[in-house]
């Protein structure tokens, strides 16, 4: 579905990603692991088009999308949940969700009240008229996920969705991800730190170090012993 | 490399200055100053806020120069104008004046409009013993040996206007002016004069430059019900004031406004319909009925377009070039002291009538005229002084003005 081919990308003149190749097959959940600052978020931003590719090419549904804008990509079904949530803080929760609809291909203008996201995150319904910025971190994360889901994307890119979230909400979020994978058969790329969770949901995984993919494998190979060498300092 | 840059700038200036010949060539392509020509400087704001007024004055000077050159020039030489932009900025005026005098060695400078720019140029012309011909009516209280003042002194514009108003309109005056030197000085004069005549100043108001809301002032006008508004606002503010006065339903039937800075050019910007029936005091109007004026107006329009109008400062700018040319002819040289000497008593039949340089204070004898604005944007003269009035910049001949001198 989404394929990276020998990508080099970065900020300004310094390349963060070097020669990265990676494949996300349709309907699978691929997990990307790696220490801090190795370039995981950069990879997602590159996929989303927020960062220009210097070399290599990105293919989406077998078409090169190197020079497509983030707007184009999101409208073609790539959903992105960034690290740090980035919700629109002066807009209400409801408006945030409505903005999610912008990327819908079917031009739907309103979220029907009983939408699936409200099942996933009932709290958002209660908080509909609050400013997004007044929510707590965990609530904001839920909102960010919901905002992407209302657009009904084909591929979802999640950047550390459980970072800094209280344990019971972490559980909720994990349940949602599992559900998305199982019932909705969404294609997903998940960046995670939580090893346990990754090993539970991933179909396939990649490990990154200093801007390169250094290890990849099926879920079975995702064991602590295998990882130790790459995730340690 | 950086240090070098700094030095380079210095050298750049140096090379510009070392070779005067090449510099003046740069200024205006076709200007070649040689034995057979006399360079003169034109120093007006062609950019910035004052460009609004000063560009037309520059045009008038150019017209006069062209005419004189066509008649064979001065002392048989061609007058070569060197145009500089004062950019509505006083230091630029003083800098450009130095440049004209030191580098271009001009015989005279025609230029400046505001008192501030005139005063910026004053020390420069005095230092280098140059000549400045100044075309605008002003507040008086000045006479530099290096400046010829061709606009009206207060006694050639304000004093007769007050007298006429007092005799013909009424005795309670509302004084309104822009917040700068000319209006404040003018209003002091008016106050003193009215004290002497037995009139009354009901209120004195000044508005900052660029002020555009006159509603509060108009409230004051309603409250005080004056017979006359003596208006010394400068160009821009007049538009706002007259428009809002008209909008407030106050017409020339209710109160008479006499302006001393509203000429034909300004009427075009304000709109004749709101000014109709109000008065101005000047030495010249486009409609002034002299044969010289007919020629002047038609030449001006021919040179710059049918839709252009003349006006007092434009006319002064025009005749002052002739005065200078005659003085040079008389002196037989362009040397400053000789020209100054020769200038005393020089007369010329200007569009506004005969003018004469007063050797005592280097101002000009001029006829005073009060005009009423007509619907077509022109003035109709309702009164004139009959003969040229002797300039008295310090108001020495008026007893009531003692405190001001």
């Amino acid at each position: 579905m989404l394929e990276l081919n020998r990508i080099e990308a970065g900020y300004g003149e310094s390349a963060v990603l070097r020669d990265v190749s990676l494949t996300i097959p349709k309907g699978k959940l691929v997990c990307l692991l790696g220490r801090n600052g190795v370039g995981k978020s950069t990879l997602l931003k590159t996929l989303m088009g927020l960062i220009k590719v210097n070399h290599g090419h990105i293919d989406y549904q077998s078409h090169n999308i190197n020079d497509k804008s983030p707007t184009w990509r999101s409208r073609k079904g790539i959903g992105y949940i960034p690290q740090g949530r980035e919700i629109f803080s002066t807009l209400t929760v409801h408006e945030n969700l409505q903005l999610g609809l912008e990327a819908r291909q079917d031009q739907k203008k309103n979220i029907e009240p009983g939408h699936q996201v409200y099942d996933y995150f009932p709290i958002l319904k209660d908080m509909q008229n609050r400013k997004g910025g007044d929510l707590s971190g965990g609530q904001q994360q839920q909102l960010a996920i919901a905002r992407t889901l209302v657009a009904d994307p084909d591929v979802i890119l999640l950047d550390e969705p459980t970072e800094g979230i209280q344990p019971n909400i972490v559980q909720d979020i994990q349940d949602v991800i599992k559900d998305l994978k199982q019932t909705n058969e969404k294609t997903m790329l998940l960046v995670e730190q939580s090893f346990d969770f990754a090993s539970e949901v991933a179909d396939y995984f990649y490990v990154m170090d200093r801007g390169r993919i250094v290890y990849e494998g099926e879920r079975e190979e995702l064991t602590e012993e295998n990882m130790r060498g790459y995730l340690s300092i | 490399a950086a240090g070098d840059e700094a030095a380079d700038t210095g050298f750049g200036e140096a090379s510009a200055g070392e070779d005067e010949q090449s510099d003046s060539e740069e200024n205006s392509e076709e200007v070649v100053v040689d034995e057979d020509s006399i360079p003169v400087g034109l120093l007006h704001s062609l950019s910035g806020t004052m460009a609004i007024s000063e560009t037309s004055v520059r045009d008038a000077v150019m017209l006069a120069i062209d005419e004189i050159n066509e008649d064979g020039g001065v002392l048989g030489k061609e007058i070569v104008p060197i145009v500089e932009d004062g950019a509505s900025d006083e230091p630029v005026f003083s800098e450009r004046a130095s440049k004209l005098l030191q580098q271009d060695d001009v015989a005279a400078i025609f230029g400046t409009w505001t008192s501030a720019s005139r005063q910026a140029v004053l020390p420069v012309v005095e230092e280098h013993n140059g000549l400045l011909f100044y075309p605008v009516q002003y507040e008086g209280m000045e006479s530099s040996p290096n400046i010829f003042y061709n606009g009206a002194a207060p006694n050639q514009q304000i004093v007769p206007a007050v007298e006429w108003l007092f005799d013909n309109v009424g005795d309670s005056f509302f004084l309104l002016g822009s917040d700068y030197v000319f209006p404040r000085t003018a209003n002091q004069i008016i106050q003193a004069q009215l004290d002497d005549l037995g009139g009354e100043v009901v209120r004195e108001e000044y508005t900052p430059m660029g002020h555009t809301d006159y509603n509060t002032i108009i409230s004051h006008i309603r409250d005080t019900e004056p017979d006359v508004i003596f208006n010394t606002l400068n160009g821009d503010s007049n538009v706002a004031f007259f428009n809002q006065l008209a909008d407030a339903g106050i017409t020339s039937d209710d109160v008479t406004v006499l302006s001393v800075s509203v000429a034909e050019e300004e009427i075009r910007g304000i709109g004749a319909e709101v000014l109709e029936g109000h008065y101005a005091s000047w030495n010249y109007y486009q409609t002034t009925d002299t044969p010289e004026n007919d020629t002047f107006v038609s030449n001006f329009k021919e040179a710059y377009g049918e839709d252009r109008v003349t006006g007092d400062p434009i006319e002064a700018a025009y005749f002052m070039v002739y005065l200078w040319a005659q003085a040079v002819e008389e002196a037989g040289t362009t040397e400053t002291d000789a020209v100054r000497e020769a200038a005393s008593g020089i007369t010329f039949d200007a569009p506004n009538g005969p003018v004469e340089i007063d050797g005592d204070n280097q101002h000009v004898y001029k006829t005073v005229r009060i005009g009423e604005v007509q619907g077509d944007g022109q003035f109709e003269e309702v009164w004139n002084s009959g003969e040229p009035v002797k300039p008295d910049p310090y108001l020495e001949t008026y007893d009531w003005a003692e405190a001001i001198q």
Partner: protein
């Protein structure tokens, strides 16, 4: 290191060249250059304030004006006694705040101290109330309006829009004689050197680092235990003092000061000199002031109708496409050259390590 050394030599060389200019230039051009050097001093002050402390003031015209007025008041009093505009405005006795300026020492001290004090007081309240960034910038515009309107409306004391002019001697020497002008020029160059040196010491001391820290993260710096507002007040006040000094030197060479030189437009132009030269450096403001004023003098003489187009375009292009100004271009070129010299690997390093800032 050798590169740094060479940069220093070039600055010294430039300074020496400026010193010998009176033997090279015609008086008129010397006067022009001298005035630009006064502007350069002003630009240095703005450069430290904006480039290092990140405070953009659009009101430096008034500090420049204060300095200029102080000097002009002294010059007026000593060359002709009471200024004539007071006479017409019915003031018969010299007011005390004029009288003190008849002493040259007092005048010079006040020319610098008044701007510093004024900036200090305003800065104290403003920075203490955490008004920074855009808000501060706009506030300084309001300040300009207040001060210039006051000066204009109090014309019996200030000369109104005409400003103060018409003085022709200093310490008994004619202000316009060639030798006096040369002396004034040299004084200006020496003050420029002095101010440059002070600024250099300042920005390369720990104080300079704290300023940069405040620029990059004011709150963060506070949580390191710094009372950031005091630092901001101090650079603001310093920079105002430098502007006062520049104004004083300016008046000596131009012979006039009016409120229109203190307005909003001139104040913005001052900042643009710094932007063109390169913010975050010290050479930048100096070059920017000299080059911009040199160019606009030349341009407006040569193409009076087109120069506003040109200067406007330069402002836009520099700010949009060369945010580091001329110095930015120079250092990019230098970095390239060095990268070539040391091979490709060094390319990144050249960017990572910054040298001491001039």
């Amino acid at each position: 290191m050798s590169y740094l050394y060479s940069k220093k030599t070039l600055v010294i060389l430039g300074f020496v060249i400026l010193l010998i200019m009176p033997f090279v230039l015609a008086p008129f051009n010397l006067n022009l250059l001298g005035r630009f050097l006064a502007y350069a001093i002003l630009a240095l002050g703005i450069g430290v304030l904006w480039g290092y402390a990140g405070i953009l003031s659009l009101g430096h015209g008034i500090f420049f004006g204060f300095g200029a007025y102080a000097m002009a008041m002294y010059l007026t009093l000593q060359s002709g006694g009471m200024p004539d505009f007071m006479g017409w405005n019915g003031i018969t006795e010299l007011p005390w705040f004029w009288a003190i300026f008849s002493n040259p020492i007092v005048a010079i001290v006040l020319a610098i101290a008044v701007p510093m004090l004024f900036a200090g007081i305003l800065g104290f309240f403003t920075f203490r109330n955490r008004i920074t960034g855009v808000y501060f910038t706009i506030l300084t515009q309001a300040l300009v309006i207040v001060v210039t309107t006051l000066i204009i409306s109090q014309q019996q004391y200030t000369g109104g829009t005409n400003g103060i002019t018409g003085f022709d001697t200093i310490f008994g020497y004619s202000l316009n004689s060639v030798t006096t002008q040369q002396m004034i020029y040299w004084t200006t160059v020496i003050f420029l050197g002095l101010v440059f040196l002070i600024c250099y010491k300042l920005v390369n001391s720990r104080f300079g680092k704290v300023l940069i820290a405040i620029r990059d993260g004011e709150n963060r710096t506070r949580f390191l235990g710094y009372n950031t507002s005091i630092y901001q007040v101090i650079v603001y006040s310093f920079s105002a003092g430098v502007a006062g000094l520049a104004g004083m030197l300016f008046v000596l060479q131009v012979g006039i000061i009016t409120p229109s030189m203190m307005g909003i437009v001139p104040s913005i132009e001052m900042v643009l000199w710094v932007a063109i030269g390169g913010r975050g450096t010290l050479i930048g403001p100096v070059i920017g002031a000299l080059l911009t004023n040199g160019a606009s003098t030349w341009f407006s003489q040569t193409y009076p109708d087109a120069w506003l187009f040109f200067i406007g375009l330069v402002f836009v292009l520099v700010v949009v496409f060369m945010p580091k100004g001329i110095m930015g271009i120079i250092s990019t070129i230098q970095a390239r050259r060095r990268a070539k010299k040391y091979g490709k690997d060094r390319k990144e390093e050249a960017k990572l390590y910054n040298s001491s800032s001039i």
